[in-house]
Every structure is written in C-alpha cells, then in structure tokens.
C-alpha cells in the first residue's frame, strides 16, 4: 500500500514502453535524479545556513560580500530588507572546490584514497531510497528499510577508515580510528532506540512506522509514550555522534588532529566528504522525524488527507532538527574521548535498555488510562527539565549580580 504511487508510475511507463524492466530502470533513474538534485540544493544551502547561524551567534555577519544586492518582497511585504546577503558564496564555493588541484599524497594508497570519498558519499545517499516521503510514496519500498539504513550508515564508517588509512598520515589514521570507535559505540544505543519503535509498530518498513503515527501530534511516537520519548532523545544524541558533529566531533578535532580523516583530501574529494556530512545530518534528521516525530503527518488530523503536504511536512521537521544540530554545534565544546565512551556505554546504553524494556511493558497495557498516564509522564519529565534549566539560569544571573 505504501508504494502505491511507485507502482502506479511504473505500470504507467511500462504500459507506454511495453517493457516492465525498462520501466523500473527509468523509475530508478528519475527518482535518483530527483533525490540527488534536492540533496545538492540542500547541501549548498545547509553550508550557507551553518555559516550564517554561526556568525549571528558570534555577533558577526557571516558571508556578506559575494553576490547581488537583494530585496525580497512577497506580495508587497518585505521579507528581507534591501541589502547584501552573500548568497553568491554558494556558487563561488562550488567553483572554488571544482577548480582546486586534486592532490594525492605520494606515499598514499592511491586507489583506496580515491575510492573512500565515493564510498562515503554513495553509502550516505543510499539510505534516502527507503525514506517514506509521502503516504503511498517511498522511492524503494523495502520491507526491512531500517536494516538498509543501519547497514549503509555502517558502510560510511568503512569509507572513513579507508580514507584515514590510505592517507598515510597519522592524523588521518587517528581520526579514522576515533570515528570508527565512536560510530560503532553509538550504534548500540541508537539501534536499541530504533528497535523500541520497531517493536511498538511491529514492522521494519519505514512507511508502516510513519503510518502508525497519523492523527494528532500526541500519536507521534515520541509523545505517545514516556519510554519512546526517552528513546527519541537517545536517538538524537547518538545521531549527533553518528554524523561526527559537535559535541561528538573528535574524529576531526581541529585542535588535535588538523582535520581528522580528511586531512589529506583537497578539491572535489574533500567536497564529497563535506557534502556527505551535511547529507548525513539531513538523513538522521529524516529518520528521527519518521521514527519519532510523525514522519509525513503534520500532527493535525484534519490535514492528514492532503497527501501532497507529506514531503513538505517531513522536510520541515527534518530541517528543524538540522538547525537544532547546527545550533548545538556552535554552543558546545567537544567531549574528551573517555567522556564520549563513558556517555555511550555507562549512560546511554542502560537508558536505552530501560526505554526498550519500558516500551515492551507499555505494549501490554493499551487502555486509555495507561495511554494518558504515559503521556502525563512526558509532561512531568519536561516540567522537571524546564525547572532545572530555569533554576540554573536563575542562579547564574544571581551570582553574576552578586559579583557585580
């Protein structure tokens, strides 16, 4: 059912061409091209967004000079005041990366060195085919979609190891070692967090998981059950580690490792690594949205039947999570290696096991009282959290006043 549009499209083309396999190939090419095109646009804009957000948080302006003077008006309303926004850096950066010399270190393992960015990029992009973008539309409707995603994200680690090893550079190698240690560690709590959702839904297909969350926003997995709420938080934290983003960016810790596993890369190969990182951010955000935050459902029951809203709703949720990741990056310093491992094995793994067992227990009681009880627990957790945050801010401001 979830691949209704896909089947319709393929049978339509097959009817035109009178050739079933050719129709499937055509379908693959078209959907792949659409995904790649959207991802390219996203990659460029994400870099721009990252630079701008970083700049504003540091009281700077960010890219301002390259590009035309723009005044954006929609229906006479000023969206952007007249000024320079440096949008030309998107093109300038692309040209710069294309024009740079492609260097391979003399003692590097040249074949593996050249293969690594391609593998990282391809493995990252592969996962997009199983994401359900709208009801009845998943590019490749695989019954065990989540396994594809987990497998592909592990192949990314392989690509990183290849890059780090082949560079013949101690920084690259250390970066690769750290990256693998981190990814392998954090896949455990991440897998358990995803597994508790899979258990609740009873399906490994992402479309079924998304369909399970239709209706109002409290039907979303994260808000349906306190255990899945904890699982959502664990997933978001470990997805940060999975994408090698701050505060988990020890694989490319600038202060210690120059640039980690992509120290020796230049030009377009480096661009592929960067591109893969940003796409990976979008990917984990999409998975988080699909698994915990309602997927393509907007959380308003009346809008559920407008299927065309699906991609936009999903995209908006994922982009919000990406912005939160960028926000987090420019707020926190990075963890030490031992802190990283402590956090994973001593804190997140037990918590994810507890969440998993709790989610299993919650499956036995589906009555209304329990449904309300579990959601009430989320509210209590959030209230306690907000109280702690407010308390910290208040004591800080009081102590600042005292010192003044």
């Amino acid at each position: 059912m979830s691949s209704f549009l896909q089947n319709y499209f393929v049978s339509f083309i097959a009817g035109l061409l009178n050739h079933q396999p050719l129709a499937w190939i055509l379908y693959g090419i078209i959907s792949g091209a659409v995904i790649l095109g959207v991802l390219s646009a996203y990659g460029a804009l994400a870099v721009y967004a990252e630079r701008k957000i970083m700049a504003f948080m540091q009281c700077r302006l960010g890219p301002m000079e390259v590009g035309p003077e723009i005044e954006l008006r929609i229906a006479g309303m000023k969206i952007l005041p007249k000024g320079w926004y440096g949008l030309g850096v998107l093109i300038a950066d692309g040209i710069k990366l294309l024009g740079k010399e492609d260097t391979v270190p003399a003692k590097a393992d040249s074949l593996i060195f050249k293969l690594a960015p391609a593998i990282v990029f391809a493995a990252t992009i592969t996962s997009f085919v199983v994401i359900p973008f709208a009801p009845f539309f998943t590019p490749a409707d695989i019954d065990a979609g989540i396994l594809v995603i987990l497998a592909a994200s592990s192949i990314v680690a392989v690509g990183i190891v290849m890059g780090g090893y082949a560079s013949n550079n101690k920084w690259s190698l250390y970066g690769a070692i750290r990256s693998v240690a981190q990814v392998v560690s954090y896949e455990v709590p991440m897998g358990l967090a995803l597994l508790s959702v899979v258990m609740t839904t009873g399906s490994l297909a992402l479309a079924d998981i998304a369909d399970n969350q239709s209706g109002w926003a409290w039907n979303w997995h994260a808000f349906s059950n306190v255990w899945l709420f904890i699982a959502a938080i664990i997933y978001i934290i470990s997805s940060l580690a999975e994408t090698n983003r701050t505060p988990f960016d020890i694989p490319e810790a600038e202060a210690e490792l120059v640039a980690g596993y992509h120290t020796e890369y230049s030009g377009m190969r480096f661009a592929l690594f960067m591109f893969a990182e940003y796409i990976n951010m979008l990917l984990v955000s999409l998975i988080a949205s699909v698994f915990f935050f309602g997927g393509y459902y907007s959380g308003i029951q009346w809008l559920d039947r407008y299927y065309f809203l699906g991609p936009f709703v999903l995209g908006a949720k994922a982009l919000l999570l990406v912005i939160i990741m960028i926000w987090l990056r420019w707020t926190l310093p990075r963890f030490r290696v031992d802190q990283l491992m402590t956090l994973c094995w001593k804190a997140m793994l037990p918590l994810s096991i507890i969440a998993f067992v709790g989610a299993a227990a919650a499956l036995f009681q589906t009555s209304l009282v329990f449904a309300i009880f579990w959601r009430f627990c989320i509210l209590i957790l959030l209230a306690l959290f907000a109280f702690e945050v407010a308390k910290g801010i208040r004591t800080k401001s009081i102590s600042r006043k005292a010192t003044e």
Binding site: F56, L332, P350, F385
Partner: protein, 202 residues
Amino acid sequence: MNMQARPIVKEMFESVGWLVNILVTSVQGMLITGKYFVRPNEIVTVRYPREKLNVPENFRGRLLNDPERCISCELCARACPTKCITVKHEMGADKKRILTEYSLDMTACLFCGLCTEACPETTKNAKGKKCLIFVNDYEYSSDSKEQIKYYFKQTEDGLARKRKDAEERVKKAAEAKKKSEEAKSAAAAIASTKINIAEESK
C-alpha cells in the same frame, strides 16, 4: 581516576545523572547562543570599505606638513628616531631659511610623534595647531614604496613670494640700519658738540 572496582549500578546512576546534567546545561547554553542569534543589533562586525570607524581626535594617521608655514628649523628631523624626515632649504637674502622640499618617508615612520612635539611653529595659526601634525587619514597603503614617501614642496609662487619677502626684509633692515646709523651719527655729533662746548667752557 579511581581504579578501585565500584558498584556498577552506582556508577551507572552517576553516569545517567551526568547525561541529564549535560542535557540541562546544553539547553542553557543553547538559550544563551539563541539569545545572541535573535539580536541583530549586537553585531560587532564593521564592513570596512562600506562603513568606517570614527577615529579619535588625536589619532596618529599620517604626518602632514604645511610648507607655507614651515621655517625649516629641522628640529623635527633631529627629533626623529628613524631619520625619516629630510628638509631641503635655501638661504634667503636675509640669511633665513626658505623651505624648498620637505620629504617624509612613511615606510620608516614609527608614529612616535616626537617630531610633532618638537615643532615650534605654532604662532601664526589661530587654532594653535602646529605646522607638522598628524592627520586622521589612515588609508594610504599603496603598491610601491615610492608612493608612501611624501614630498611637501614649496610652490613656485610661494617660493618667489618668500624670496621677495626676504629681499624686502633685507631692504627694510638696511633702511632701518641706515636710519639708526644716521640717528646715531646725529646723536654722536650732538654729543661731540656738547663735549666741545664743555671743553671750551673750561
């Protein structure tokens, strides 16, 4: 680190507490960075060619000499620790110096301001400004060293006028001398006649 074996459950609880603490403090930090993100007025960047900072009144930008007023005393050239000032002058008819060219090598200047302190020429200006001053202009970088050596030349008219002035001053001085000599000789004549009269009266 404490290498003793600790109860695993206790350690786990501590770590979970640490995780919660991390979450709380991250949100607090994110609120701070978010606060700066939504405040566009606090941006400190100055987009230099488009906007410029106001420099203070006594800013030492670059040196400026007024060849019209300069008396070629060379006090500035002597005060300069890097010897970046050279003064060329000619002698006027009245043995006073007339500036022809005042050259400043800004590649060697270290902006100590000793030359401007040494400059004695304050009298003619109503505002009390010296003839050698620092101006606020700091945008004089250039492609070649030659372009930041400044030559303050006396204009042709100014030179001619100053020579003329000097000659006139010599003339006046000569006239004054003549007059005073005449007066002196007259006085001497009077005095000698007085003496003669006195002698005669003896």
